[in-house]
């Protein structure tokens, strides 16, 4: 018996809907599979662009790197590494505003991500927003590093110290360097970097200690030798400075001059202890003679300003004036010191105005060191 029209229509519609539902389920499965495959391929593409971009960045091809890293971060937005790398490249390209626009939203997603905080810290530092920089540096320091690397934290603290020093916050920088303490991995690079910062902060004593630690690990490390030599020189340890700087294979002009000055100080310091009277007198005479010659030659020039000339003449007159104590003929240490003061006064007057030789620099250094030692 044939079904009524309504029932046939109903059966047709229900069958149709069921078939459609089945088709939708199959279609969903197919589409989902294809989407996952597409997702995997996109991730691979993004990773490849990322690698290319990192390589280009390392090679200094900033524009190419920007192109590649943008592709990576656009293709796979889920991987924050690409955004961070793009931010780094933008900063390197001198576009910190754009870098910040990329990194800020990433930080909202992952406030503790050390890489993001580090990049933001660098941008803030470049903008002279030191407080922001310190905040981001600390966030990076206390963030969770993938391998819990003390090395990474050391690098950040060193970088932060450098930023603080560049912005005149010496005390804070010294505090950060002190915080490195025993957690800093015992490597030459770390010791040299920390010691350099200490030297920049004016703490030559701790800088020398740091450079010595580096030299214990690698006795011929050129940067450590140079830094240690400079620090020793600043501390007035001229013999040690000469010894350290003499070990440099290819010293810069400045370091070579420093080495020569240190050598001259060691060989010509009239105030050095344990010298015979004759030897001391000989050194003193040489020092005084050199200082007088320098001023005399300088005055013979025609380009001096009147005020400078007057100052030099006054110093020359003071140096030539007979001293009451010298008439006694006693060759005491007191007399030696007074005579050296005359040479030092001449050198001070000529400093920065008259041409100088390494011996002049040595005499000045001896005088400055003596002044520092005086109560």
């Amino acid at each position: 018996m044939p079904l009524p029209h309504d029932l046939r229509q109903l059966r047709r519609e229900v069958t149709g809907l069921v078939l459609l539902a089945l088709a939708a389920m199959v279609g969903y499965g197919v589409t989902l599979g294809m989407a996952r495959s597409e997702h995997d391929t996109s991730r691979r593409d993004a990773a490849a662009w990322f690698r290319i971009g990192e390589r280009q960045l390392a090679e200094g091809r900033i524009d190419d790197a920007l192109w590649s890293l943008r592709r990576a971060s656009t293709i796979d937005r889920g991987d924050r590494r690409y955004g961070v790398a793009l931010g780094r490249a933008l900063t390197a390209a001198g576009r910190p505003d754009q870098a910040e626009r990329i990194l800020r939203p990433l930080r909202l997603e992952a406030p503790g991500d050390p890489e993001i905080n580090l990049e933001l810290a660098r941008i803030a530092a470049a903008r002279d927003a030191v407080d922001d920089a310190v905040h981001f540096f600390h966030s990076a320091l206390f963030g969770v590093w993938p391998d819990e690397s003390a090395d990474a934290r050391t690098r950040i603290r060193l970088e932060l110290s450098g930023v603080l020093l560049r912005h005149g916050r010496t005390e804070a920088a010294l505090g950060e360097l002190a915080a490195l303490g025993t957690t800093m991995p015992d490597t030459v690079a770390n010791h040299v970097a920390a010691a350099r910062l200490l030297a920049s902060a004016g703490d030559a004593d701790r800088a020398l200690t740091g450079f010595r630690r580096a030299l214990r690990l690698d006795a011929e490390h050129q940067d450590a030798l140079a830094g240690a030599g400079e620090a020793a020189f600043a501390l007035g340890r001229f013999a040690e400075a000469r010894r350290l700087l003499a070990q440099l294979d290819e010293p810069s002009l400045q370091l070579a001059a420093r080495r020569d000055i240190a050598a001259l100080i060691v060989s010509g310091n009239p105030l050095a202890p344990r010298l015979s009277t004759a030897h001391r007198r000989q050194r003193l005479a040489a020092a005084l003679d050199r200082a007088r010659t320098r001023v005399r030659d300088c005055l013979a020039g025609t380009t001096l300003q009147p005020s400078v000339r007057a100052r030099l003449l006054a110093a020359q007159a003071a140096a030539e004036a007979p001293k009451a104590s010298s008439r006694g003929g006693r060759d005491s240490m007191e007399r030696v010191e007074r005579d050296f003061e005359r040479a030092y006064a001449l050198e001070q007057a000529a400093d920065g105005v008259c041409p100088a030789t390494p011996l002049d620099a040595a005499l000045l250094a001896i005088g400055q060191r003596r002044e520092q030692a005086l109560p």
Binding site: L20, A23, T31, L32, A35, E38, R70, I75, R101, P105
Partner: protein, 443 residues
């Protein structure tokens, strides 16, 4: 849900038909969403197949014309109704053909769309998605033996579902369907389109995740004076819209006037031009959303944006006018972002007041060109809002949209979709009046 009762039917039959229609709306939403997602994924796969990871110059030069030779045959001989965007054809089907779309249309549009866009033509995937979704809905309705009124009602349902998934913008999809396909913001089909749009976007998000189409920083109006700058953007956007529409229609007319025997080869002619273009400016390949994203995030310098604006405009005109299967949604957003980026950079240089980032202008520029070219200002506003989730940008967007729309209307009185249909000999009057359903709907 709309009402389309048959006066002769029993109350039970009417109630049953409503329930079936409701279930069908949901299912069509799901299927339209799936079709849009699958279409997008297939285009990506085709692009990768044709061009590889980092294409050589030869590949860029040769792929578009060679693939277009194949699509030319398909478009001329196998699927003649699937050239171009698909939105005008869908409108015409809804208004003139009782919503009847042959089952071959969505299939043909899918295949040719994947090939054309995958081969690097500078056209978009959203228009084709609309035609695929609408075609699927119509074919299902016909297959199930629904009444002609119900079949017609399913067309905007499928269109809304597809567009919702294609853009991940469910509200804008509904507004577009009402504004552009139905042509009546008070249409009784609102409930059905909303349902399909929601079902579709849920499916799409469950597959692709809830990622917005573009990642945009929070932009806002810096000060009231900046509205002047956005007004300038609206004017410039309107003028660029007119250039785009006139260029597109003019070149399409030129292609149509070529001897009929060349129709098979016209897409390949466009392919030759696109191949040469891609060798020099590969960024204009395909949909190009990657570069829109970069412009929105301030990642492109103004010279690059100006170059992309000019080249994309020309490439889209050539790709579309030569009869390839693809839409103008994506190109209008691309060109708009570049216009906005260039204007934003210029404003930042010369304005005596504080201005926002060029990325903010690129965002508003997208909406401005969309309003000027597609003539769907409400869709534009809602779409940008759904993309950005940011109220702050809406005021400048509305100002710029309004001016763009006024200028576009002034210099290009016939909207581009209507003008395209007119070139095909179809006179479209909303409300079904005065047109021949037999008029050719190709291209």
């Amino acid at each position: 849900m709309s009402e389309a009762p048959n006066p002769a039917a029993t109350p039970e039959a009417v109630a049953r038909e409503r329930r079936v229609f409701l279930a069908l709306t949901l299912l069509i939403g799901v299927l339209a969403g799936l079709s849009a997602v699958l279409f997008s994924l297939s285009i990506n796969a085709a692009t990768r197949t044709f061009f590889g990871f980092s294409p050589s110059g030869w590949r860029l030069l040769l792929v578009p014309p060679l693939v277009s030779l194949v699509t030319g045959v398909l478009l001329a001989r196998v699927f003649p109704g699937v050239r171009g965007s698909g939105v005008p054809q869908t409108k015409a089907s809804f208004h003139l053909a009782g919503g009847v779309i042959p089952a071959s249309v969505p299939f043909g549009k899918f295949v040719t769309g994947v090939l054309c866009i995958g081969a690097g033509h500078s056209i978009g995937r959203e228009g084709p998605s609309v035609q695929i979704g609408a075609g699927l809905a119509s074919a299902i309705g016909q297959r199930l033996g629904l009444s002609p009124a119900r079949i017609r009602e399913l067309v905007p349902v499928g269109a809304a579902g597809a567009l919702s998934a294609a853009f991940n913008t469910p509200v804008a999809a509904v507004i577009f369907t009402l504004e552009e396909i139905i042509g009546d913001m008070n249409a009784t089909l609102l409930g059905s389109t909303v349902l399909a749009s929601v079902a579709s976007v849920i499916v799409a998000r469950s597959i692709l995740g809830n990622e917005p189409l573009f990642h945009v920083p929070e932009y806002q109006l810096v000060g009231p004076a900046e509205l002047l700058a956005y007004a300038c953007l609206g004017v410039i956007g309107g003028l660029v819209s007119v250039v785009f529409c006139r260029g597109l229609l003019g070149m399409r007319l030129w292609f149509r006037r070529l001897p009929a025997r060349t129709a098979t080869f016209q897409p390949a002619m466009g392919g030759v031009v696109i191949g040469l273009t891609l060798v020099v400016v590969p960024q204009v390949m395909g949909v190009g959303y990657e570069y829109v994203d970069q412009a929105l995030n301030g990642g492109l310098v103004w010279t690059t944006m100006l170059t992309l604006l000019v080249v994309k405009l020309g490439a889209t005109i050539v790709s579309y006018a030569s009869g390839n299967a693809g839409g103008i949604f994506a190109p209008s957003l691309f060109v708009g972002a570049m216009v906005g980026g260039v204007v934003g950079t210029a404003v930042a240089e010369v304005a005596p007041f504080a201005t926002g980032d060029p990325g903010a202008y690129a965002l508003v520029g997208m909406g401005t060109l969309f309003a000027g070219i597609i003539r769907a200002p409400m869709t534009s506003v809602f779409m940008i809002f759904e993309i950005t989730q940011d109220y702050q940008i809406l005021v400048p967007l509305m100002v710029a949209n309004l001016l763009s729309l006024v200028i576009s209307r002034r210099f290009q009185p016939v909207p581009v979709y209507h003008a395209l249909l007119l070139q095909d000999g179809v006179q479209l009057v909303p409300g079904d009046a005065g047109a021949s359903p037999q008029a050719p709907l190709s291209r």
